[in-house]
Structures are given as C-alpha cells and as structure tokens.
Symmetry: C2
DNA sequence: TTCCTTGCAAAGGCTTTGCACACCG
DNA sequence: CGGTGTGCAAAGCCTTTGCAAGGAA
C-alpha cells in the first residue's frame, strides 16, 4: 500500500502526530473505493481492531481534507463521502433506484465549467460532484 | 397568484383535502424563489398566521413532490430546497464562501446529460441540480 | 514533559414519526 | 359522520463538541 505511506508521510511533514488510529484510518481510506462514508471507513478499521471510535474517524478525515490529502463530497441525502487525492477528479452518478454509485470521467465537465465561469462569473468546483438519476439496470428493470 | 390556484386545483383533483394550512403553504412556495427551505416557507406563512407547524410544512411539501407539483433538491450540507414545478429546470450554483445561490440555465447541462447517457447508460435527472464553487464577489474579495 | 489526540457522552440541527384531537368533504 | 390532516412532543440520524485521560515526540 505505497499510497497510504505517502499520505502518512505527508501528514508527518505537516506536523501532525502519527497515531495507530490515524494510520489505520488512512490505510482504510486508501484501500477503499472512490467514495467511502465515515461509517464505511470505520467498518474496515474495525476488521483489525475495536480500538477506534467514529469520532476519531470523522476527525481524521477532516484533517486529511484540511491538509489537502483527501476530498469530501456531499452526495446529498445525507451521504458524505471521502476519498484520497489519488482518486483523481471524477463524477459520481448516483442511482436513485438502487443507490449504486458509478464513477464517471470528470473531464466531461470541463466545458460546462468554462461556460458557467464565462457566463456567471462563478467558479465551480467540479472535482468531485454528484449527479442523480437512474442507472441502466434499474431502467431495464422498470421497462420489463 | 394564478399559479398557486393551479396547484391547489391540482391537489383537489388528486383527491387531497384542502385545508387553510395547505393553501398557505402552497401560496408561500409559489410566491417564493426557486429554492426555499421548509423553514423559509414556514416564515412566510407565519407572516399571516401562527397557526401552522413546521411538521405540516414538511408533510405538505412532501405531498406536493409526491404528486409531481413541486421538486425537492438536496443542495448538500443539509440544505434541502423546494420549488413549484412552474420554476422550470435550473442549475443551482452554490457559493461555498457566502452561501449565495445563483440560478443558472439548465440547458447548459443538456449535452452533458446526453454524453453520460450514451457512455454509461445512466439517465441523469438534471432538472434541479446543484454545483458548488465560489461566486464572482467572493473571488474578488479573496484577491483583494 | 508538553500538548496534541483520543474516547466517551452529550449536544446539535434537521427531518420524521406516533398519537390524540380537529375538521374537510 | 368517516377518515384525512394537524399539532405537539419525542425520536432518529448523522455529525460535531466538551472534557478528562492517554500517549507521541
């Protein structure tokens, strides 16, 4: 897991203390997919030890986001997900039917971002956004 | 306020009972902008009477959404906003700095929607979506 | 030793639910 | 009158905060 070592080194460089909890949380996040909730991170860590509290998970994830090492995306409907920066920009396609999350290429948004900037003077943060809709499978099920 | 009469008529047609509370809530939503929280709807209704409860506002707004007369958009960060269907499709540009919400033309998204559909088989619901970023004013303030 | 981190419990904010009473149709 | 709608209070859910104890450096 070379990536999580990078993150841990970065934390140390920034003057943050390294604790077993932080290491495990970073490792869990680095192992996981592109969108993990705090609860999911905790579950993975709990496979190793019970000695981590959900509060610490939240605090560590926030720390990573503050330090620019992770991103936080609000998928709406109470779902807040985190990912390490290694998981580059992407677009979350969230199915309202089955809850599945598809990761799409964020470059699809580049043109949109420019247009919005030109027209409204608004600079959208398009690194990790979520769009709701219905996935292929659910669409097919519906029409059956 | 012809629009709220249409909505009220539609509710009645669908077999819903008309109460003073429902009428006032519908009227408030129709008067308001394109993104009102339940709390904001309540405030407007309260200018007329104290005899409405936030619970009823939530229930009525949910009713309108169920019946297809209003939309519900989760702007993230706990902000859920409602609008009547008369407020056609639009894009919410939410400033992370000042919280301001700019309404943009939803047609900007049409091409994106098609591309996503073709490439991922995912049908995005682009009627009322939210994008986060920084507005022109906050950008200028930052650079001063 | 210093003071950053952690865990626990409790608070917070927003939304939903249970239940008895009210009132529309 | 029957059954839907309302208000109140309380519960739920996820996240944050306060505070004392623990442990990294």
């Amino acid at each position: 897991m070379p990536h999580c070592h990078t993150l841990i080194a970065a934390l140390r460089q920034q003057g943050c203390r390294l604790t077993p909890q932080r290491e495990m949380i970073v490792e869990a996040l680095a192992h996981g997919g592109c969108h993990m909730t705090a609860e999911e991170v905790l579950e993975i860590v709990r496979q190793k030890t019970q000695a981590v509290n959900i509060t610490t998970v939240y605090r560590t994830l926030d720390l990573l986001v503050e330090r620019g090492l992770a991103t936080r995306t609000d998928l709406g409907e109470g779902r807040i997900v985190y990912a390490t920066i290694r998981h580059g920009p992407h677009l979350h396609l969230v199915c309202r039917c089955c809850g599945r999350v598809i990761e799409a290429d964020a470059s699809l948004l580049a043109l949109l971002g420019e247009t919005i900037h030109d027209r409204y003077g608004f600079t959208p943060q398009l690194e990790h956004i979520a769009l709701y809709g219905v996935c292929r499978e659910c669409n097919e099920t519906r029409n059956t």
